[in-house]
Symmetry: C2
Subunit: 445 residues, 2 copies
């Protein structure tokens, strides 16, 4: 039932095929106008796609010829089946209402199949550039991925939370935190919902959040941004990090399922319909290597001396991504057992070898996509690690209160949304899959 | 199918009734321990509710008696039907594993039906206080409301977006903006996604966003916070603000439906199952009064002289809320036609009377819950109003680019999530329905 006027009064370009022989009203943007000798074609773009409108009337032709592309039109016409055109239908005998004439021609051709300008130019004109069907398709994927994340976790009894982004102290410690003037007091932008989502395990046991995270890192790399969308989950009553990895695997499957169902058109447009990554299902799960074994594998494969390395460099992650693809047929690879020294204070040690941890990363096509793991859950353990790391316990008073009063073994993970989509479409730069990127140089649009 | 270990290994307290005669494993918090002369009762709380465990064994009784409330336990026992207890079932013959002993007694009794301390004390201990079944129920309502918002708009072809919260200039103008040190440059926290969601109408026609909004107002009122969750929507190809009001009405119905289906337990616990507001359906829609008529009504009703008032005071909104309830049987009331002078620059004037606007507020039980309206969509109109208001056009260059290149008539609305839940449960202070409030005095927890 279409109960609202906005639904009743127009059909989407994607629906035109089911209205052959009818007179329909479309609305959208003048994507392109192509005057030929005795006929002209108006390509109308709406949120769903394109429609070809055949213009024969001379007065209308002259009127449209005087409009800049991107003018906004309402078009009423008859749907005619035309087997030889790409969509199989055209709009004939149109009447056109100009809702809003563009004031200037676009700075680049939005009707080309692929946009030509370099990334920096496109980003400068992002409000327009996003109108290009391929560009906006990327953000249809983002929307579907978020919906799949939420739907999968909701079906596992996770509860959605919204935690504050203005915080009284740096969540994860460290210097990479944006400072705010908070009504005359210092405050900070949240680096992650980490501590809040842990507190909320005490309330709902299983929680998730989709929201912005902020890192004041003066990076200038193709994979870092100063603001990104973090898909966070945290759950209690686990045995160890492997329960978290199982939930993450299940969630990734749900996100990819949502892409297939909710964003089929966007996937097809981007040529990705049959190129989605495989999340291996039981009995062949996503492969897992320990950090120690990963270093040994890379050293053997590359001849590098990696003894004592505290972390994986991007080149090492790429090597591991190729190895996982080659040896396991997997786009994903879990790396577990990172050294304790490189991980935040709340990380749970590996009980069998406390110099290492129950933290993991998930590499997706050779790039770190997810970090996660088991967290400490005992009050006395937190008191100990804060002292060992010479961290100021006062900054964590509220956080510690939850642990003083009983917290179950728990863990969680965080997926970077923009990075997920970037790897999915194999975009070399995460800015290509970020709606309005924030980086060292870019605060606008 | 329960494919994950976290699902297979325990049953929720809410599921115990369907396992009579079986031995089940529960997990949760020691909500209360009540030793009587020959028997003791352990009330176990998990994310779903409470279960009563009967302890007869002396050694176990002594062990539990030595634990503080809020210790974390795993309990395995036999489900026995006991018609005379509230749930109709008990857990007998338990074995108990202490997963995490609390280090101290809670600062207030979490097992009381209603928490006793004043709001400020509760907020100081929010990580614990939220564990109380009534407190956490409020945030189950929030989660359901967000899910209903998204589901309703998704079904109307709205696309979810995530816009940046760090912005290069103040979105709505005005002084109430938090300033950030952005890698050595000044930047600001987004007051709303207003301008971004308008740009995105050019891309997806219909968009929504659920995210934080920030206002640096040194308010100290029961209905203002410095950070809140904004449920934003914006849509193109409207006739005027009435199309936006129709979509908002439809969305509110969807949110209330989601509360009934997703949060039935929380509603029952809060005594609200049959007290949800009515969103009047056609033919009796939500009543609408113009600002001018509203002032006249209030003046007539109260004897106040309101000639020339530029806006409604909170007391006036309360009066109108009672009037709508009394005269129209409605918990909601639209007020339209606000004076142009009090509304932001992007507000579309009323074509019949340009001193007034196509902006509206929606009052919910006498409090402004939603603001929305039709926006300007023509480039030349923006240039004119920015000049008239002596605003710096350079700060809006990116925003204006979208309008230079064709934007349809559009409008939208923003619902304050915390305020919606506060009015729904009739909480006198919006802090009661905010997970971790941020105000003049409170930056933690």
């Amino acid at each position: 039932m279409r109960s609202l006027a906005i639904e009743r009064e127009r059909v989407w370009t994607s629906e035109v095929g089911s209205h052959v022989g009818e007179r329909v009203t479309l609305a959208g943007w003048l994507h392109r106008f192509r005057p030929l000798s005795n006929v002209a074609f108006l390509i109308l773009r709406d949120a769903k796609g394109l429609a070809q409108v055949v213009v024969e009337e001379q007065a209308l032709r002259a009127q449209l010829d005087g409009l800049y592309n991107e003018s906004v039109l309402r078009v009423t016409g008859t749907v005619v089946a035309v087997p030889q055109v790409p969509d199989g239908v055209e709009i004939h005998d149109p009447s056109v209402e100009i809702l809003s004439a563009a004031a200037a021609p676009p700075p680049f051709d939005l009707f080309r199949p692929v946009l030509q300008p370099p990334l920096a130019t496109l980003l400068d004109h992002q409000p327009l550039m996003l109108r290009h069907p391929r560009q906006r398709a990327l953000f249809q994927l983002s929307a579907a991925a978020m919906a799949g994340f939420r739907a999968t976790l909701s079906s596992l009894d996770f509860v959605e939370i919204q935690t504050p982004k203005i915080v009284g102290s740096a969540t994860e410690g460290g210097a990479n935190v944006f400072k705010i003037d908070y009504l005359g007091r210092p405050a900070y932008l949240s680096q992650s919902p980490q501590l809040y989502k842990q507190l909320m395990v005490g309330v709902f046991e299983r929680v998730f959040e989709v929201g912005p995270a902020f890192r004041a890192e003066p990076h200038d790399t193709p994979r870092h941004l100063n603001e990104f969308v973090s898909l966070d989950a945290e759950l209690g009553f686990i045995h160890d990090h492997r329960d978290v990895m199982a939930v993450l695997t299940h969630t990734l499957r749900g996100m990819l399922d949502a892409l297939r169902t909710d964003a089929a058109g966007a996937l097809a447009l981007l040529g990705l319909a049959d190129k989605l990554p495989v999340v291996l299902a039981a009995p062949a799960e996503i492969p897992v290597v320990t950090f120690t074994d990963a270093l040994a594998l890379i050293a053997r494969g590359t001849g590098e001396d990696l003894a004592g390395e505290p972390d994986l460099a991007p080149a090492h992650e790429r090597w591991l991504g190729e190895w996982a693809r080659r040896e396991h047929g997997s786009d994903f690879l879990f790396v577990t057992g990172y050294p304790a020294a490189t991980k935040p204070f709340y990380t749970h040690p590996d009980p069998a070898n406390p110099a290492f941890t129950n933290a993991f990363d998930l590499l997706f096509r050779g790039v770190e996509l997810v970090s996660g793991g088991q967290r400490l859950h005992r009050y006395e353990d937190y008191c100990r690690v804060l002292a060992e790391r010479h961290m100021n316990e006062d900054a964590f008073t509220d956080f510690l209160e939850a642990f003083r009063h009983g917290m179950p073994p728990h863990g969680g993970f965080a997926i970077g949304l923009e990075r997920f989509i970037a790897r999915l479409v194999e975009a070399p730069n995460v800015r290509e899959t970020t709606l309005f990127p924030r980086d060292l140089h870019r605060l606008t649009p």
